[in-house]
Symmetry: C2
Subunit: 241 residues, 2 copies
Amino acid sequence: MFKYEEIARDLHKKIIDGTYPVKEALPNQKELGEEYGASRITVQRALDILAEKGLVFSIQGSGTYVKVNALVKNIRDSRADEYEGLTKHMQHSDEESISSEVLRFVMRNPTEEEALNLMLEEEDFIYDIIRLRLLNGEEYSIEHTLMPIEIAPGLNKNILLGSIYSYLMNELKLKIGGSSRRITAEQPDKYDKKHLKCSPEDPVLQVEQIVYLNDGTPFEYSKTRHRYDQIGIRVVDHYES
Amino acid sequence: MFKYEEIARDLHKKIIDGTYPVKEALPNQKELGEEYGASRITVQRALDILAEKGLVFSIQGSGTYVKVNALVKNIRDSRADEYEGLTKHMQHSDEESISSEVLRFVMRNPTEEEALNLMLEEEDFIYDIIRLRLLNGEEYSIEHTLMPIEIAPGLNKNILLGSIYSYLMNELKLKIGGSSRRITAEQPDKYDKKHLKCSPEDPVLQVEQIVYLNDGTPFEYSKTRHRYDQIGIRVVDHYES
DNA sequence: AAGTGGTCTAGACCACGCG
DNA sequence: GCGTGGTCTAGACCACTTT
C-alpha cells in the first residue's frame, strides 16, 4: 500500500462520509500534503486517482472540487469494464447458480478472418468451443469461443463446465490486458431458437469480442448471444477535461 | 504542448514506424530522459500515457515493452468512448448526410424516476424531446431526450434539427464529463414499427444513457432506439495490471 | 550483484481563475 | 496580484527481474 493510495482511499472515505461535501472544494494540495505528511506531487497522484474514478475534478487556478454525482458513483464503482461472459457478473449474488452445457469442443485451423483476429497463421490450431450457459437452470446465452491452443494448452471439458477465465488466470497465471467489443442486436438464428428458446420475435443481444493478454496477445475471439430479456450491458465513461 | 506530451507523441510515432518494434523493450527511462533532455519522472508520465492507450506495458525490474497489438490499436485509437447519439459518429465520412425530424418538443415536470436520474426536484422543468434521425434520408434511430431547462435554456427547434451537443459545447461552453449507458436489445414497439419501419421480427438496439457535465451534474437522460441493421456499439477497455 | 521500473521528496516556475 | 493547480527537475530509496 503506497502513500498515494492511502491518501486517495482516505479522501474517498471522507467524500462519502460527508467530511468533504459535494460541490465544495477540497483543501488545497499544499494543505493536504501537510495533513498527510506528503509532498504535493504525491497528493496530486492521489487526486488523479479520484479524478479517474469520477469523484473529483480540478480547475487550474481555482481548486479541486467534489463532483455532484460523487455519491452516486459510489454505488457502482467501475469504469467501462468487465464483461467476460457470464461467470464474473454473477459471482456477487449467492442465490444464483450458473452451469454450462458444452455443445461443441473441437480443435481446428482458423479461417483467414479468425487468424487475423487472433494474430495467428492459418496453419496454427485453435479451440472451437460452443457453450450453452444456464442461470438457475434456465437458458441464458450461447457462447462461441475461439482460442489459440498455444496459449491455453490443457483445456478440457471439465474446465469448460466452469469458468475458462479462472483457469487461465489462476492456473496458467495469465494476465488480461484489455478487450475490444462490439455489441449488436440480432434476429434469432436457428440455434438461438433451439437452445435459447427464442421465438422469431425475440431479439438477441450479441457481444463479439477480442480479449487481449497484458502484452497485447489476443487470446480469445468470441461471440456471445444473450436472450434479450436476460441482460443489458453497462458502460461507464469518464472523459478527461 | 507539454514536454511529456511531446515525448509520448514521439515515442508513439516511433512505435508506429517500427523504430521500436513490437514485443521489444524501449530504451530504459534514464536513457530516454537523456535523449529528450527530460527527467525520469517526465519520461514516466509520457510512458503512462502510452500505457493508457494500450501501446506499451512495463514490468518492474525488467523494462517497458511494446504490446504486440500496438499497431492494431493505431487503426482505431479510442477508449470506451464517444457515443452521444449519431452526429459525432458520422462526421468523419463526408458522403453521409444526417437530418432530423422533430416528433415531440415540449416542456414539463419530470416523473419521480426521471427526477432521480437527473438529480432534480419534481417541481423543476425539463425538455421532453423526441427526434427521428435519418441517415441519407433513411430512418436510422429514434432519440428520446430529457434535459433540464435550467442547464440548456434557449433550446429551439432549429437547434434540434442539427446537433444539440454542438450547441451545448460551442454556444453554452458546457463541458461533458462522462456518461453511464445501458445497452439492450428490445422488441420493436409501435413507434419503432411506424417510424423506423421495423417489422415485428426486427429487433431494436436501445441505448439508455445519462450524460454528466464536468462537475458531475446530469444534463441528459435519453433512450435511443436504433434499427438493428444500422449500428453496433464498440467498446474498448484497458485493464491496469 | 547489477539493472530496471515504482515511489517519494523539496523546491521551482508557469498557467489560469478570481477578485 | 494572489492563490491555485499543472509541469518539471535532480536526486534518493525501494521492489523487482535478470544474470
